[in-house]
């Protein structure tokens, strides 16, 4: 042990990192656990035990919120994984204007989510929006994208995919580019088609990239808030409320303790889903 004391770097180097971690992560986490058990007005608080959790779980909107959050995360994640893979494979092959197409795909990611949300809610206006007027020109009677309670959530999810597909594609491009060319050459010598190349080389060997996309897209979907708020504010009624928008509404109403309890629930929920998913996915990874 004594020999280990002679070391190059002092522990003092850890102080800045620890301070950041303590002030911005540990302290708020512990405090939010505490405040979730209080009725809090930001200046005064009464300790009320688990009442906030009871209230939060008895909210009618909450069951809608849980269901919507899962649907939203699954739809956006699934579409990003599949479309991202296809786009990634396409954009690593030898196509004309490859670089131009890559930047086109990535461009929506650079836009502000709120701006995208407002723009699309105008495009999706049931009678005057560009989408439905175009459909009408083709003789199709377009639905009320954001007003129809059955499809409003999916409309927002599609916009999320449009906006987020760029990141997924870039991750796939990186993963696919890292696959050594020798595998493809070997397949060619054995007489495999390009479909075979995709099915037996590209898909299995881009598993690490796919896993990153799944994790990022799924967690992103679970805690998504900004887009839905810009497009529907959880409406009509409560039909597109996600857990995050329910929590935000509680904050808006000034129920700070209750909203904090909601955040603790969201944190636990995301952890319960994300960690097992991560472990399951990393088990089957192939290292190149």
């Amino acid at each position: 042990m004594t020999k280990l004391k002679i070391r190059t770097y002092s522990y003092i180097f850890l102080v800045p990192a620890f301070l950041i971690y303590f002030v911005f992560y540990l302290l708020p986490t512990v405090l939010s656990l505490f405040f979730s058990m209080t009725r809090w007005t930001l200046t005064h608080w009464n300790f009320i035990g688990f009442d906030n959790y009871v209230t939060f779980f008895s909210e009618t909107a909450l069951s809608i919120g849980f269901r919507n959050t899962l649907i939203y995360a699954a739809v956006t994640c699934g579409l990003k994984v599949i479309l991202g893979l296809l786009l990634g494979a396409f954009l690593t092959s030898t196509v004309l204007f490859k670089n131009y197409l890559r930047s086109v795909i990535f461009f929506p990611t650079l836009l502000s989510t709120i701006a995208v949300g407002i723009a699309f809610s105008i495009l999706m206006h049931p009678s005057q929006g560009l989408i439905n007027t175009s459909l009408a020109a083709l003789g199709i009677n377009g639905p009320d994208w954001l007003g129809n309670t059955k499809i409003a959530l999916l409309s927002v999810a599609l916009v999320d995919v449009w906006k987020g597909i760029g990141v997924a594609t870039v991750i796939y491009i990186a993963g696919i580019s890292a696959i050594p060319g020798e595998y493809y050459e070997a397949l060619k010598i054995d007489g495999g088609s390009s479909m075979n190349a995709f099915r037996y080389i590209t898909v299995p060997l881009s598993r690490p990239a796919m896993n990153s996309v799944i994790i990022l897209a799924f967690i992103g979907g679970l805690r998504s808030f900004d887009l839905i708020w810009a497009m529907t504010k959880g409406g009509p009624g409560f039909t597109t409320d996600l857990i995050a928008s329910i929590i935000y509404k509680q904050y808006q109403a000034g129920f700070y303790g209750l909203a904090t309890a909601g955040n603790v629930i969201l944190f636990v929920g995301v952890s319960l889903l994300a960690f097992p998913l991560y472990r399951y996915l990393t088990k089957g990874e192939v290292y190149l």
Binding site: Y9, I12, L146
Partner: protein
């Protein structure tokens, strides 16, 4: 390198890193900082420059006050007109700090108050929403100011908390009622309905004539609440104790049939198919346009909307009339009245005296005249001696009748501190057929429970 230099280097590097870290925090998290000495909002930078000018140039004692006000309607323009005069008369410059309205604005006000970041003056709701922002700790008590003497008691009660008065009125009173297009009424030979069933019969005729009978603008969710909130005259006429029982956790919307009726009134026009197409995508401004050009005939709304109609379609303003939300019997027919917003002084402002001077000027006859030149009254005024002008809106003249006969009642939010924050989402859900009136009322009762507990009211 020997060990001591190594240690010294380690130490120095660490210190530099920590300092850099803290400096980074300082500029990054300024808005979250609540200690008054390091406050970094626009108002404060101004006061600093003012201190400098005062020191170097003593005779020019110009004070800059910040005033936070919502962005809907014409209140801001009218306040600016008063502010320009105040600058000449009192040497007070007002800087406007514009906030959104509705729950988003409430959220901002609560946060700014809690973090000690509030502007010197604030225009904010009266009644229950005022009680939710803890006026005793945040606003200056103006009970004994001489300029408050002319303010009517009906207004004072809605800005009074624990026996102390906190605000001055901004604008006139208004009513939550049904705005209707008189021209179309004339064309179709309709008369103002006295009961709900007459109202529905009118709707049927309007629909048959190919027009929208009831305009709904649920894209702006707050506009969906009027059939509930504006129905309070009918509710209190039939259940006189409702406000008290409701505040004391004894009466509920879902179990009081007359109160549940308000939610049913939200539901019925949708069920009967009287509402405009795309009502979920329709905004407040579009709704007012529909009403003005006669393609829509009824719009349940606050009469302060008349002012926006004047702005957008000035030639149509006298086509618009006002009648109360009808009850089930013709004997009960009166207006639910909204008190104007209040002007409050931030208790912790460093410029309280200047703020008081501005408030005094604002409620004076002169200040009110300037204000009224920009915003025409949407109902009777609440300051003694300020009469409705002869060129008042046609709709406002129709309201006067109910005031003269004493058939008015303040809205529930002025007689009870409890108003559930989710009402607008629930009325959208009920008004677009997503949930039933019964379910909407039950959910609203739960929403009220949370608000009452947050306010720490006894009996909840």
């Amino acid at each position: 390198m020997n060990r001591t230099t190594g240690r010294a280097l380690t130490f120095v590097t660490s210190v530099i890193m920590i300092v850099a870290l803290l400096a980074g925090c300082g500029s990054g998290s300024g808005s979250g900082n609540n200690s008054p000495t390091t406050k970094n909002n626009t108002g404060d930078t101004n006061s600093k420059t003012n201190v400098k000018t005062e020191a170097t140039n003593a005779p020019v004692e110009k004070t800059t006050l910040t005033l936070m006000v919502g962005n809907t309607g014409t209140t801001l323009d009218a306040l600016k007109a008063v502010g320009t005069e105040a600058e000449k008369k009192l040497n007070i410059t007002i800087e406007y700090d514009i906030k959104p309205d509705g729950t988003e604005g409430d959220n901002l006000v609560k946060t700014r108050l809690a973090t000690g970041d509030m502007s010197d003056l604030l225009v904010y709701n009266t009644g229950s929403l005022l009680k939710a922002v803890n006026p005793v700790e945040n606003f200056l008590d103006v009970t004994n100011e001489t300029f408050m003497a002319d303010v009517l008691d009906s207004f004072k009660t809605v800005v009074t908390v624990d026996g102390k008065v906190y605000g001055a009125p901004v604008g006139s009173s208004s009513a939550g009622a049904i705005l209707y297009n008189k021209k179309v009424y004339g064309e179709l030979g309709l008369t103002v309905p006295q009961t709900w069933s007459e109202f529905m019969a009118n709707n049927e005729k309007i629909k048959a004539a190919g027009k929208t009978a009831v305009i709904a603008s649920y894209k702006d969710t707050w506009t969906s609440q009027l059939f509930v909130l504006g129905d309070y005259y009918n509710l209190q006429a039939q259940v006189p104790n409702f406000a008290d029982d409701y505040t004391n956790n004894k009466a509920k919307y879902a179990t009081t049939p007359q109160a549940l009726r308000s939610f049913e009134k939200t539901e019925e026009p949708f069920k009967a198919g009287y509402m405009n197409k795309d009502f979920l995508a329709t905004t407040y401004d579009v709704a007012l346009k529909m009403l003005a050009d006669g393609s829509g005939v009824h719009y349940p709304m606050l009469t302060s909307a008349l002012d926006s109609i004047l702005q957008n379609s000035p030639d149509k303003i006298n086509d618009i009339g006002v009648f109360p939300i009808p009850g089930d019997s013709a004997d009960v027919n009166g207006l639910t009245v909204w008190m104007p917003s209040g002007l409050y002084i931030n208790k912790n402002s460093k410029k309280v005296e200047a703020a008081k001077k501005f408030m005094e000027y604002f409620v004076s006859k002169e200040g009110q005249a300037i204000f009224a030149s920009k915003v025409k009254a949407a109902g009777p005024n609440v300051i003694k001696g300020i009469e409705l002008p002869d060129d008042a809106y046609e709709g406002v003249k129709e309201m006067q009748k109910y005031f003269d006969e004493g058939k008015t009642s303040p809205a529930l939010e002025f007689v009870s501190p409890v108003k559930g924050p989710n009402l607008e989402n629930l009325t959208v859900a009920v008004g677009s057929g997503i949930i039933s009136a019964q379910k909407g009322a039950e959910d609203y009762d739960k929403d009220i429970l949370k608000q009452a507990q947050q306010l720490n009211l006894p009996g909840w």
